[in-house]
């Protein structure tokens, strides 16, 4: 069945069960991936998946939901039945409705959907990449984590009021994590990930070069003394921190009491006037962009922090109604509708006179710690408390020298971090989770072994 046929099937089954109000979200995907081990194919994988989530509203306007991978006629009927039963337990205190924007026009950009290259081509490309990475430096002994994949998927939203949206896309990903070993030293590992609309869009050479350079740059390492340091966050690591504390911008988290913000926080000063943060799911560099969210609301660019002040929250239909505003296109379909950011864009505002512009990661000669990548986010972030304590990969720059830091953590508080931003560099870099320049923060605690 295609998505139109599924919609008709659901509509007919709902009629037969006397269910007048329903909506659904579905995804259909075909994925192919390969892994190699020293030139040999290790695991080759293909999967065909279909997931359907149906919501129904009962006569008391309470919502029930069911998710299934069985998209047969009987599976759809069963799902509607189960959702109807679940609606008896629907949340009476926070009702859910269709998004008022579910039938608004959506911005359809060229989806740049590519054709599959096939498993054999994936395997050939990955084998070549592995060989080149192994040959790039004598200390690189293996590439234990590697993979090349391509995915083709369609996402759909429809409801009983006649809304119907669908889009289809393709996406490819390459990751190479190398392991380097030298005599009398601990093994070191680092890597790189590249995304593209299709395999042919991925810059494989740059992935190999990044993985090699990063790994080699950690070969000469040393412990760091526990102290407070001037820190330069790479674009990737700063975006990791912002995403980890995105509950600050999240209306659902505020209502659930797990956010550092509250309903009245709009306008609060969080950071230097030089900082702007947007959520921009439709950004041209966002390979995974989606034109609508789980409730069918169109995706759009939204300012979260404007000149250091909290400007907007991200919303679903129900949180927007409670906050007396409109949905922002950040909902995930579920029994309890989730809210999450799409693609964070960090930039320097026009009000940047208080920044210490001499702090530039490529030219600054004073002592600082460069944080390349933060790890173990799930373990080290307490989003509801604002605190973090995270291991990282990075370097200490001191006396004109750069040395890799061995097993250390950076700890602090997100509010303190935002308030202590001392420079926002001019050049933005594209990462897999958003866009940001390098960000400098003063006086963060680093724990090391020295």
């Amino acid at each position: 069945m295609n998505s139109k046929e599924i919609t008709i099937q659901i509509s007919e089954a709902a009629d037969s069960l006397n269910l007048k109000k329903w909506d659904y979200g579905a995804s259909f995907s075909n994925d192919y991936s390969v892994q190699v081990d020293k030139g040999e194919a290790k695991q080759l994988k293909a999967s065909q998946k279909q997931i359907l989530t149906i919501r129904v509203w009962n006569e008391s306007n309470l919502v029930g939901i069911t998710t299934t991978s069985d998209i047969s006629e009987s599976g759809i009927k069963k799902a509607l039945n189960q959702a109807n039963i679940a609606s008896d337990f629907g949340n009476k205190n926070e009702t859910t409705e269709f998004s008022p924007l579910a039938q608004d026009p959506i911005e359809f950009k060229d989806s740049k959907k590519r054709n599959p290259v096939g498993i054999k081509k994936l395997l050939t490309l990955l084998r070549e990449a592995e060989v080149k990475l192994l040959e790039s430096h004598e200390s690189i002994k293996s590439v234990p984590y590697n993979g090349l994949s391509e995915s083709f998927y369609e996402r759909v939203y429809a409801n009983s009021d006649g809304a119907f949206r669908s889009y289809s896309k393709s996406q490819a990903a390459l990751y190479l994590y190398a392991r380097a070993e030298e005599k009398n030293k601990k093994p070191r590992s680092s890597g790189s990930i590249k995304l593209g609309y299709g395999v042919e869009d991925i810059d494989i050479e740059s992935c190999i070069k990044d993985a090699s350079n990063k790994t080699i740059s950690h070969l000469n390492y040393s412990s760091i003394k526990t102290d407070k340091y001037l820190i330069c966050f790479s674009p990737e690591s700063f975006l990791t921190i912002i995403n980890a504390f995105s509950s600050m911008f999240n209306a659902r988290s505020i209502l659930d009491g797990v956010s550092l913000s509250n309903k009245n926080s709009i306008g609060d000063k969080l950071s230097t006037e030089a900082l702007n943060i947007y959520d921009d799911g439709l950004h041209e560099k966002n390979i995974s962009s989606s034109p609508f969210d789980g409730e069918g609301t169109p995706t759009k660019r939204l300012c979260l922090i404007n000149k250091g002040r909290l400007e907007n929250f991200i919303h679903s239909e129900s949180t927007a109604r409670i906050f007396k505003t409109i949905p922002t296109g950040h909902a995930g379909l579920g029994s309890k509708v989730s809210v999450s950011p799409d693609w964070i864009v960090v930039e320097k505002s026009e009000e940047n006179s208080d920044l210490k512009t001499l702090l530039d990661h490529s030219t600054y000669e004073g002592e600082f710690v460069y944080i390349e990548e933060l790890n173990a986010i799930h373990a080290g972030v307490r989003a509801s408390q604002g605190s973090f304590s995270l291991p990282f990969d990075g370097w200490l720059y001191k006396n004109g020298k750069k040395i890799s830091i061995e097993s250390a953590t950076v700890a602090g508080d997100i509010k303190y971090l935002l308030k202590n931003i001392v420079n926002i560099e001019s050049n933005q870099e594209v990462t897999t989770s958003g866009i940001s320049p390098h960000i400098w923060v003063d006086e963060l605690s680093i724990t090391g072994d020295a």
Binding site: P187, K336, A379, D449
Partner: protein
Amino acid sequence: MLSSQIKSNEIVFGSCNKDLLEEIIFYGMGLGADFVEIFIENTDNSSVLAEEDFITSVSPSFGKGAGIRIFKDKKDGFVSTNDLTKHGLMRSVSQAIEMLDITDNKKIQVFNGLDKHRDYSLSKKKWINEVPSIHEISEKLLVSTKSLKKNNKIITRKGSYSRNLQEVIIASSDGTYVSDIRLHQTVGLNVIASDAQYRSSGSRRFGSSGMPHEFRLWDHEKAANDVFESSMNMLYADYVDAGQMPVVLANKFGGVIFHEACGHLLETTQIERGTTPFENKLNEKIAHESVTAIDEGISEGSFGSLSVDDEGMEPEKSVLIKDGILKKFISDRAGELRTGHKRTGSGRRQNYSFAAASRMRNTYIAKGEHSKEDLINSISDGLYCKSMGGGSVGATGQFNFAVEEGYLIKNGKLTNPVKGATLIGEAKEVMPKISMCGNDLELAPGFCGSISGSVNVTVGQPHIKVDSITVGGR
């Protein structure tokens, strides 16, 4: 007539599928595969969330699918599909054969048909009728969240329950033909406490496998008291000072440190990748002589227990480390093929869309002879980690763990609560520093995410003392 035709052309749970499974395996072997494995599942899951004094989410889900794995030499091709018809399964076999580029079908491996059906599901078919109803679960969760409301500093109260019922059929060209039903239930409580600028959180999770009545026996009052006390103790806690120090790790979920720091390095997938420092250390000392560590899938009702693994092998009790000496690795079919370590009944996967891999089950450090007080009394200046959060281990063996609830140890006594602590180290360096094990072994349920998805596991240990470890803080 119509009924039997339908049965012979698609997998039907609760029916004999032997002829169809054999036909598909014969098909794969005839095309030149060394080995064919079929994993089929049918799931029926539910989850319920209570927030404050209301049920805010009830989420049922169900589905079915198949994972087909073909081995040729040491390579494997894996295809997953929702199509359980004969045509769909044959197409998946063809796709896997094509991926592996198998063109030589002259050297046909022998397939003598499936063995006698081992049906582990016979006594379990009634489970679905014995598990608590959504109504019963909702009532108990609401009582639980109500009992968390012990003072006005508690600003957020949550109770959650989930139930996964998985029916599986496993068949492979070595004759394996198995059916099973797995039931996992888990229930948890969470609070956030707040007072002026101070905030803390507390959580506890409980879980069982194969015990439909377990939720009814759950002592929600005790759980609520534990969570409340933890959040109150930590509300005004100072941040811990960073540094090297001796630590005592509490029993139960304290075992996550062994799971993450050492257990993963004893899975054969790590040998395959060349990422474990223990690869060539079999029968060598890798830990302090006070350490004996076990991984097993047989403790009745434990969250990581199973009647049969996802490759059709009954789980064994594996003594991984005996008195500090490395004795065994955790192995699956691919691990045995590629590393030579015998299978241990540890081939596990989240669902049909993942190929099985060597994964831990119930993993714990065995009990020693000391009391908890012995361990604390032996430290003049250190940290007691009463409750651990999550953790991770990097590609070169470094690990880190968040401490959810910690107390300073001064002159052999527990003193002030401290927050923000992270334990950092490397398994190879820390294992020899576990110098004392308590006599109070207890297990705790958890979820482990890795190469074959998220699987139910148990971690555990008695109280243990680590002589020196890096504590991250401020």
